[in-house]
Symmetry: C2
Subunit: 198 residues, 2 copies
DNA sequence: CCATAACCGGACCGGGCGGTCAACTTTGCT
DNA sequence: AGCAAAGTTGACCGCCCGGTCCGGTTATGG
């Protein structure tokens, strides 16, 4: 269908510049980042942004898509690890570390965007579900915890540390550890509400 | 100093209308809520908003201030409870329940606002510190957890559930339980990073 | 090396925002 | 009742945003 003639040299270079500039800008200022600022950061004109991406949302979707795919790849790699429990912890560590260079909110905020994004997100969620299933079967996480729980809690360490001004860059590790302790079977109290589907 | 002549009857009524309309509107649409919409929701003109509050930020600060004070009051009440452990859990439950009618982010987003807000926030933080200290001394939470940790994690249950579309209104209880289990002494693993000051 | 298609850039547009203001209405004291 | 002070209002302002467009520029196949 879309006869994808290869991009011209300058065009593909600029596309890459835009993508990284957008990632940085969204990272710093959230989705309030303006297209003009992104273009300026990339050293390009505003019109060029809209030549490569149909809209601001489209640009955000492209950025987010990259991050999701990175994460899915890491998850699938860890599915082959020997210890399912530490594989899950490692996955969450990778996720938080990636997000540490700030919240690109691949869950809700990017939810209404692209069909590509929701597809990639579904694949990532599926990977998490499998990681959690393996960990549960190995007795590394409590029996009443689901993949959906982990998907939701995955973002919490970064969120939580975003509240402290001048936070040390590794502070999230503390809260990931606390939350992961809450996922462990030892000393678990019954949960007062059923898990969502997600 | 500020010779506060009492407000006229209609003025104080309208002030109250604005405050609740603003709370609802901020709750639904975050701080992107427009002043015009808030005024419309209150059934008033936009100019009236600025007669009562110097700026949109000022209005937000007033709303947030109310919530913080409510929370501080609940915390101080619970400082007198018999069981320090369940007092802390109850406090977190109250906080999350209040925030369930949506995120007014009394931490960071309101941080740069009013001096009144930062003062109230400090008092609330102090209350949390005392609740946590009591719980720790009673052995209800792990020894390496601080008041700052709880302050940061306090917002996580609501945040986490905000990602699920059409979430049942009590879903946060599930994640509060998981996180609180992570705060308990049983089966705790050493934390990989020191607590922040906050 | 040239023709031309692809690409770039920034002036420009419509719209929505926070905030102002002067004309008008309501309140409450006397 | 009457009147000054307090309160209300919506049109209006300047600003910035996402998105468009076309004249000028550059890469690339023949």
């Amino acid at each position: 269908m879309t006869s994808t003639r290869p991009l011209r040299a300058d065009a593909s270079r600029n596309r890459r510049l835009l993508l990284t500039a957008a990632a940085d800008e969204f990272a710093e200022r959230g989705l309030d980042a303006s297209v003009a600022d992104i273009a300026r950061r990339a050293g390009l004109g505003k019109g060029t942004v809209f030549r490569h991406f149909a809209s601001k949302d489209d640009l955000l979707a492209a950025v987010v898509l990259d991050r999701i795919d990175e994460l899915t790849a890491a998850g699938e790699r860890l599915l082959g690890a020997a210890d399912p429990g530490s594989a899950l912890l490692e996955f969450l560590t990778v996720a938080a570390h990636q997000r540490q260079q700030r919240d690109l909110s691949f869950l809700q905020e990017a939810g209404d965007l692209n069909a590509d994004v929701t597809g990639a997100r579904t694949r990532m969620f599926d990977t998490v579900h499998r990681l959690v299933d393996r960990a549960r079967e190995a007795g590394a996480v409590r029996a009443d915890v689901t993949g959906a729980d982990v998907i939701l809690l995955m973002c919490a360490p970064n969120y939580v540390t975003s509240y402290v001004p001048d936070a040390p860059p590794d502070l999230w590790r503390r809260y990931l550890a606390i939350i992961f302790d809450g996922l462990r079977p030892e000393g678990a109290h019954a949960l007062p509400f059923p898990a969502p589907s997600v």
